[in-house]
C-alpha cells in the first residue's frame, strides 16, 4: 500500500522548489530546464506557461504524453514539433533494421529507442497514426534477453543486455499499444542497483502491463529515503506520479487507468 502522505510530501517538495520564472531546475535553485519542468508540471499542474515559452528540444517528444489533458492549447504545436526530431537513416548497419523510421535526441542524428518510445507514447495519447512507426522500431530493437538496450540489440557482433530505463520506456509503449510485455521486469532487474528515476519508470511500466508493482514501490520508497545529496526535482516529480499510479491513479504517460 502506497502511503498517501508520502505522495503528498513529494508533490509539496516539487511545488516548493519552483523557480521565480515559473520553471524548475534539475536541482533546487538551479536554472529552469525543460525536463524537470515537464515532470513537475505533470505532478503539480503548474509550469505550463514556462513550457510554452521555452524550446523543449527532445523533451517535446514527451510533452503530449505527460500533459495532454493539462495543456490542450499546446497540443497542435507539440505534435508538429515531434516531426522535427525524426531520426536520420544510417548506412551499413548489420545488427537491426536501420530503415525503420524513429526519433532522435537531437535533430540530424540517428533514431534511438528512448526518444522513439517517448514520441510513441505522445502519439498514442494523441490518437496519431505515427505511433505505429514508433512501435515498429521499438519492437525491432528488442534485445535477445527480451528487454531493450539504449540503442541496439547487438553491437559489433555481440548481443547486448537489456538496460532498465530503455526497457521501462519500451515496455510502457508496447503495453499502451496493446502488445504483451516481453519481459518480467522484476526478474530482469531486481538484483541491479537502481536509482529513483529507473525505479519510477519501472514502476510505471510494471503497472501498465499488469505486473506486480509492490517490489518497485518498496524499492522506490527506500531509495527516496536514502538518497545522499540534494534530490533531483525531476526524480521527485516522477516518484510522486509513479507512486500515485501504484495507489490506483491513472498512468501519467498514457492517461489510461
Amino acid at each position: 500500500m502506497v502511503a498517501a502522505p508520502l505522495i503528498a510530501a513529494l508533490r509539496r517538495r516539487v511545488a516548493e522548489t519552483r523557480n521565480a520564472d515559473g520553471g524548475w531546475g534539475y536541482l533546487a535553485g538551479r536554472a529552469s530546464r525543460a525536463e524537470p519542468t515537464l515532470w513537475a508540471a505533470a505532478a503539480t499542474g503548474q509550469g505550463l506557461t514556462w513550457l510554452a515559452a521555452h524550446p523543449l528540444g527532445w523533451c517535446g517528444l514527451l510533452a503530449p504524453a505527460l500533459l495532454w489533458d493539462q495543456a490542450p492549447g499546446q497540443r497542435a504545436g507539440w505534435l508538429r514539433a515531434i516531426e522535427a526530431l525524426r531520426g536520420r537513416p544510417v548506412d551499413g548497419v548489420e545488427d537491426f533494421d536501420a530503415t525503420l523510421p524513429g526519433w532522435a535526441w537531437v535533430d540530424g542524428t540517428a533514431s534511438w529507442v528512448v526518444p522513439t518510445a517517448m514520441a510513441g507514447l505522445s502519439l498514442l495519447r494523441a490518437g496519431d497514426g505515427r505511433a505505429a512507426e514508433a512501435v515498429a522500431l521499438v519492437a525491432n530493437r528488442r534485445c535477445e534477453d527480451g528487454g531493450w538496450n539504449y540503442g541496439n540489440p547487438r553491437a559489433f557482433g555481440a548481443s547486448l543486455p537489456a538496460q532498465p530505463q530503455p526497457t521501462a520506456w519500451c515496455t510502457t509503449l508496447l503495453a499502451a499499444a496493446g502488445h504483451p510485455a516481453p519481459l518480467d521486469l522484476e526478474g530482469a532487474f531486481s538484483s541491479q542497483a537502481l536509482g529513483p528515476s529507473s525505479l519510477g519508470l519501472l514502476l510505471l511500466a510494471a503497472a501498465r502491463c499488469g505486473q506486480d508493482t509492490a517490489p518497485w514501490v518498496q524499492r522506490l520508497e527506500a531509495a527516496l529515503g536514502s538518497m545522499a545529496g540534494p534530490p533531483r526535482l525531476d526524480h521527485t516529480a516522477l516518484a510522486a506520479l509513479a507512486l500515485a499510479r501504484a495507489a490506483g491513479g491513472p498512468c501519467p504517460l498514457t492517461g489510461q487507468p
Binding site: V93, V106, G108, A110, W112, Y150, A158, G195, A228, R232
Partner: protein, 332 residues
C-alpha cells in the same frame, strides 16, 4: 549507433587525411611540423595501494598544474560508462580518489569528481555499482552529474566537426583545473580512448542525449580534437594498471599493464600512452587532427620522465590493425 566506417574506409581515410595534411604542411612550411614541447611522466605501478603517496610526489613534476589547482576549483573527470562485471570499462574508483587526495595535499582549493555518463541515464546506479559513489562518500568528496549541469555554449577554436558551438557543463567550463582521468582502452571507432576522448563526458546528456550521438555525426576524431583543443585539461592522469584491449571501449578484454601516465598536455599523454599500447598514434585520425590543433604527437617533441615506458601489445579494435606498430620505441 554511428556511421560505421569499414576497415578500408578507416585506412583510406587515414591515408587521405595524412596526404592532405602533408600538403597543408608543405604549403605552410616546416613550421607546421613543429609541435609544442611536452613532458610526460610514466610510472610503473603494480597496485592501487599507496598510489596517492606516489602521485603526491610525481605531481611535483608539473608545477603549472598545481598552481592552477591552488587557484580555484579542480574538476576530476573519470571515465564512467556502464557496469559489466569483469570488464575494465571505468576508471578505478581508488585511482580517482588517489588523484583527488594527492591534489588536496598539494593545496588544491577544492576538488570535485564529475562525469556525464554517455549511455545510462541512471547516474546514481552506475555510481553505486561501480563503487565510485560509496568511496567518494566515504572520503567526503563531492560528485557532479555533468549530464544535468548548467550549460555553457562554447566555440571550439578549429570546429573540425562543424558543430559551431558545443554545450559544455558549467562545472567544467568554470574550473581552474580540469583533470582527465581516462582508463587505457582500445576503441571500436577511434582506435584508442584516452584523455582526449574522455572529454565526451563533459557534454551534458540533457542537451545532446544518451548517447551523445551528435558528437558521432560530426565525426568522432573531429569531435575528439575539438573538445580537446577547446577545453585543454591542465592535467591528464591515465589509469593503466589494467587496461582494455580488443573491441573496446565496452566489449573488450582485460589487459594488465601496470602503468600510470601523466602530463599537462592530454594529446602528448595520449600519444605516449597509445605507443605504450602498441599503437602508432600518427596512424590514428584523432591524433592527426589534434596535432593540427596544436597537440604534440611526435616523439621528437615529447620528453619522457619517470620510469621506463614498457610497451604492452594490446589487441587492436577491429579495423585498426593497420595502426599497430611493428617496432616499439621501448622495450617490450
Amino acid at each position: 549507433m554511428t556511421r560505421r566506417p569499414t576497415r578500408r574506409l578507416v585506412v583510406a581515410g587515414g591515408i587521405g587525411l595524412g596526404v592532405g595534411l602533408g600538403l597543408i604542411g608543405a604549403r605552410r612550411g616546416a613550421a607546421w611540423l613543429r609541435q609544442p614541447r611536452a613532458r610526460v611522466a610514466v610510472l610503473r605501478v603494480e597496485t592501487y595501494d599507496d598510489l596517492a603517496e606516489r602521485l603526491f610526489v610525481e605531481l611535483e613534476r608539473f608545477p603549472r598544474a598545481l598552481e592552477r589547482a591552488r587557484s580555484g576549483p579542480v574538476v576530476l573527470k573519470p571515465n564512467l560508462v556502464e557496469i559489466h562485471p569483469g570488464r575494465p570499462i571505468n576508471t578505478q574508483p581508488t585511482f580517482v580518489v588517489a588523484v583527488a587526495e594527492a591534489l588536496l595535499r598539494h593545496g588544491a582549493a577544492s576538488v570535485v569528481v564529475a562525469e556525464g555518463p554517455g549511455h545510462t541515464r541512471d547516474t546514481e546506479a552506475v555510481l553505486h555499482a561501480s563503487g565510485l559513489g560509496p568511496l567518494l562518500a566515504e572520503r567526503r568528496l563531492s560528485f557532479v552529474d555533468l549530464n544535468v549541469d548548467d550549460v555553457v555554449e562554447m566555440s571550439p577554436p578549429f570546429d573540425l566537426a562543424g558543430h559551431g558551438r558545443l554545450p559544455i557543463a558549467r562545472t567544467v567550463a568554470e574550473a581552474a583545473l580540469v583533470v582527465s582521468l581516462p582508463r587505457l582502452k582500445t576503441h571500436h571507432h577511434a582506435g584508442v580512448t584516452l584523455g582526449m576522448k574522455n572529454l565526451f563526458g563533459v557534454v551534458p546528456g540533457a542537451a545532446w542525449g544518451w548517447p551523445k550521438n551528435r558528437l558521432h555525426w560530426g565525426g568522432i576524431p573531429e569531435s575528439i580534437a575539438d573538445l580537446w583543443s577547446l577545453l585543454q585539461p591542465g592535467l591528464t592522469v591515465a589509469d593503466g594498471l589494467v587496461g582494455m584491449e580488443g573491441d573496446g571501449p565496452i566489449l573488450g578484454a582485460t589487459r594488465p599493464h601496470g602503468v600510470v601516465v601523466l602530463g599537462e598536455q592530454a594529446c602528448a599523454v595520449d600519444a605516449t600512452t597509445a605507443r605504450m599500447m602498441g599503437m602508432d598514434p600518427t596512424a590514428l585520425p584523432a591524433f592527426q587532427l589534434a596535432a593540427r590543433c596544436g597537440g604534440t604527437v611526435s616523439t621528437s617533441w615529447i620528453a619522457l620522465e619517470g620510469d621506463d615506458p614498457v610497451a604492452v601489445r594490446y589487441a587492436p579494435a577491429p579495423g585498426f590493425e593497420g595502426a599497430v606498430r611493428s617496432e616499439q620505441p621501448w622495450p617490450t
